[in-house]
Amino acid sequence: MADPHTIHVDIVSAEGQIFSGEAAMVFAPASEGDIGVAPRHAPLLSLLKPGEVRVQTPDGQEQHFFVGGGAIEVQPSKVTVLADTALRAKDIDEAAALAAKQRAEEALRDRGGHITQAEALAELARAAAQLKIIERLRKLRS
């Protein structure tokens, strides 16, 4: 990179780019303990814990970003933080998966039983259209 005293930082999440720019130093909550990344850091790949990513810009200011977890890739002149937008933990994910499964099961159990309002309305519209056609045919014939 042009300036050996800074490091390029990209913080992105699935829902949008959070930060992109040069930094003098980056701190991140890696899964094995917080790390500080200075320019020309050794290549590193790590998962992140929920916490705060701090970016020190070359003019000495500091910016804070909350991440719900994710991953960080460090190359000598570049840091990429892949941030999660949601808090992640094994049991939270597990619970979410279970809820998704249950919704599907419930929906299947409902089959044939009571119909939803939307379906009933669609049925009604179909019947009304049929009636209209019958009426029109009758008019044509008479």
């Binding site: 992105v12 949008g16 899964s31 790949l45 790590s46 998962l47 890739e73 979410a96 599907a104 929906a107």
Partner: protein, 287 residues
């Protein structure tokens, strides 16, 4: 004067309908723009993710993650179908479902069973009549889907893949080509097709925290989730575009209908006046 009053009230009701369809068209237009923005914002993450996964697999050629390993025999497949929650969006959902049915039939002919994962209320309403197992479902994500609402649903499918219940995972959604065109597309999520490793930087000797396998697992999971998120956002953009067009057409049709009714009304009114006049004239002549 039979008829004129009915025609007048009919005109009023069609005008009301036209107001609604016009409003819906305008709402859909503004929502579509926002959805397109979100689509664009989701792109850098997926790109960065692909690069990091590429680096990682490059640096560890001997480690093969199950998500990257194609299976020879496909006994069962999973399909994630992204549909809308609400109707009045033209043929958008119907096209997605048709594409899904083609895909299902193609694999069923090869002897594979099909499992579905449905995103959006309309998908559930359609597919639950077919009698194919539905493993997971999520609906009412709104106009602004969030990754956190999709994690559970995607995890069910990833777990099924890991456990060998499904050997391949597909994603079907409406691709936003432009405002006029939305095309249903099928994408293979698992196993992940070879990532393009060209254009990557030189080989890096990473320090891993924790070990590489665990990082790769976390990254691949997030990668799939981001793909599904992208599909959900793109589907919202497609939905809004389709609704915009459908409601535009509906407003035009309502306008035509109003014109026709107005003509009929004028004729009926004229006929009534003529009749009245002739009655008066007839009455005067009789005296």
């Amino acid at each position: 004067m039979p008829g004129t009053k009915e025609i007048r009230s009919k005109i009023a009701s069609v005008k009301n309908t036209q107001k609604i369809t016009k409003a819906m068209q305008m709402v859909a237009t503004s929502k579509m723009r926002r959805a397109q923005d979100r689509m664009r914002q989701a792109r850098p993450y997926a790109e960065k993710m692909r690069v990091v996964i590429g680096h990682l697999t490059e640096a560890n050629p001997d480690y093969r993650h199950p998500f990257l390993q194609p299976r020879d025999e496909v006994k069962s497949i999973g399909i994630i179908v992204v549909a809308t929650d609400r109707g009045l969006a033209g043929a958008l959902n119907a096209n997605v479902f048709k594409q899904t049915l083609y895909l299902m039939r193609e694999w069923q002919r090869k002897g594979a069973t099909v499992n579905l994962c449905l995103i959006g209320a309309k998908g559930l309403a359609f597919f639950r009549r077919i009698g194919v197992p539905i493993l997971a479902n999520v609906a009412h994500l709104g106009d602004r889907p969030h990754v956190k609402d999709l994690i559970g649903t995607v995890k069910v499918m990833l777990d099924s893949y890991r456990e060998g219940k499904i050997d391949r995972l597909f994603l079907v959604n409406a691709q936003f080509v432009n405002t006029m065109t939305q095309k249903p597309v099928v994408e293979q999520l698992l196993p992940i097709e070879a990532m393009d490793t060209e254009g990557l930087q030189e080989h890096w000797d990473y320090i891993y925290e924790p070990e590489a396998a665990q990082i790769l697992d976390g990254l691949l999971m997030r990668y799939i989730e981001s793909q599904v998120y992208r599909a959900a956002v793109e589907n919202v953009a497609s939905e809004m575009a389709a609704r915009m067009i459908a409601m535009g057409a509906a407003s035009d049709n309502a306008g035509k209908l109003i014109n026709e009714l107005q003509l009929i009304y004028n004729k009926a009114r004229q006929a009534a006046i003529t009749k009245e006049l002739s009655e008066i004239v007839g009455g005067a002549a009789a005296v």
